[in-house]
């Protein structure tokens, strides 16, 4: 055979040998897998994502949440502390789905209904909220528990998960943004003079 043929043959043998060694030495590889979180079609860079437990970037500060009161403020009257607290996962489809899964797996659905219309616990789709219906109020109710049997989940679930539960509840339409929390406390959500309010919300008040 010619020199080129010989060279190409040697090259092929070397390539084969290399492949054999690579595969033959196969053992547990650490898989490098790319992609966004499960079920999410947006790229990781485009969403607020808590990288690890100590990194709470993007989540409302626990201190700010602790200051949000259920009622009005003594000596001053109006409580607008809710207004600055937003749910970083609101309207995020993946977070709503995760929240939905936790809602079932943590037995929330057994008390509040798989359709969230209530049962042992109150209806979460209407606009009546005994302890407030802003994202901060709902976060606190889940985190702290409430007197008539709502368990406290603050130590059982990480903050990111509780915010995703809030996202899920928000997706049902009964909640209102923090900027309207003060009016919610005063019973003014359905005020006809303000067209940006919740006057279009279904508003079956459900006293338990």
């Amino acid at each position: 055979m010619t020199l080129t043929e010989r060279r190409s043959r040697i090259a092929a043998l070397v390539a084969t040998g290399g492949m054999v060694i690579a595969l033959g030495a196969c053992h547990q590889d650490k898989q490098v897998v790319r992609g966004g979180s499960q079920g999410d079609v947006t790229l990781p860079q485009q969403q607020a994502r808590v990288a690890n437990a100590t990194d709470t970037t993007g989540l409302p500060a626990e201190g700010a949440l602790a200051r949000v009161a259920i009622g009005d403020l003594a000596g001053v009257g109006n409580n607008t502390l809710d207004a600055d607290v937003a749910n970083p996962y609101a309207n995020d489809r993946a977070s709503v789905e995760v929240g939905h899964e936790y809602f079932i797996n943590m037995n929330c659905a057994s008390c509040h209904g798989y359709d969230l219309k209530g049962g042992m616990g109150p209806d979460l789709t209407d606009t009546y909220w005994r302890y407030g219906g802003s994202p901060a109020d709902i976060y606190k109710s889940i985190f702290e528990g409430r007197p008539q049997g709502m368990p406290a989940w603050g130590r059982a679930l990480p903050p990111a998960v509780i915010w995703k539960l809030v996202s899920y509840i928000q997706s049902k339409g009964g909640t209102y943004p923090g900027s309207l929390a003060d009016r919610g406390r005063q019973g003014d959500l359905g005020d006809n003079t303000d067209t940006t309010s919740f006057s279009t919300l279904k508003g079956r008040n459900n006293v338990h």
Partner: protein, 348 residues
Amino acid sequence: MCTECVVQRGLRGARRMTPLVVVLLIAACNGTTSYMDATGAAGSREATLGWWLTAVACVVVAFVSVAVLLGMARHRNDPHRGEEGVMARREVKSGLSWIYAGVAVSVVILAISFGGTLAVLNAASRPRITPSLTLDVTGHQWWWEVTYSQANDPELGFTTANEVHLPVGEPVRVRLHSADVIHSFWLPQIAGKMDVIPGQVNETWVEARKPGKSRGMCGEYCGMQHAMMALDVTAESPAAFRQWANERRAAAAAPTTRSSSAGRVVFVRSCGACHSVVGSEALGRVGPDLTHLASRTTIGAGALSNTPAHLAQWIQDAPGVKEGARMPAIPLSDAELRDVIAYLQTLH
């Protein structure tokens, strides 16, 4: 048709094939996940069939290659090389008998292969005796829930995760459930694959014939971490199996040190909603059962080896280790983390 060209093509083909065959052989001999190396009742038969077919293929390739080479060698100095129709004009005295021989050999080999395949399928379709032990395997994204039970003794049932122990020589019935999407249950060294399909319960059986450790895996793409869904398979003598089962059935012992006792409190509070440790008040079923976590070699269904440092890494940021994992990052203080790892290490 120029002989030289044919020769070149033939040699090229042979060159291309050789690495493939060699690679396959090496991959097949790769130990714990090698189905060609299988030792289970069904698996070993399937492996035998695989080897037979491989051998037949190799023999055919070898024979044809030799025949082609011989033919080329004979015509090396043929003055009529390169002319059209040369080969066709050459008379072959024994031509027809070659065809008869070839067909006969092929038919015999095919018949043997066909019969062998049927025999293997038959052997793999059902166990030789009715199994008394049942394994309910539920495929989750991305871990395996494994529940052992016995028909008339429900109290002998217990649940574990990501590990399968099999008594040698006893067939085990396997029922497959899916918690979410399609997976496939595959213990390559024991038996073939069976899909795990949501909404129905597939049934198969496995029987180990030789003691030893191997690795099972998910055989149907089920999402981002499909590759990280390993099963620790141990085949052992029936006596050793029953001892293992008794240990698994037992509740976790109460922790004795201050750190592990504190760790149990942290565990029940922060982990118990999803994980279960039988004997404590942590009885969650969302994630794997951890009652005997300390006796597992890996965590995260093969993501990390089971060491305290890896446990800390996993607890603090499981999605960082295994992207897409359903377990969220759990915020614990350093003391709580130390205590909970101390507790987890008592869970033998």
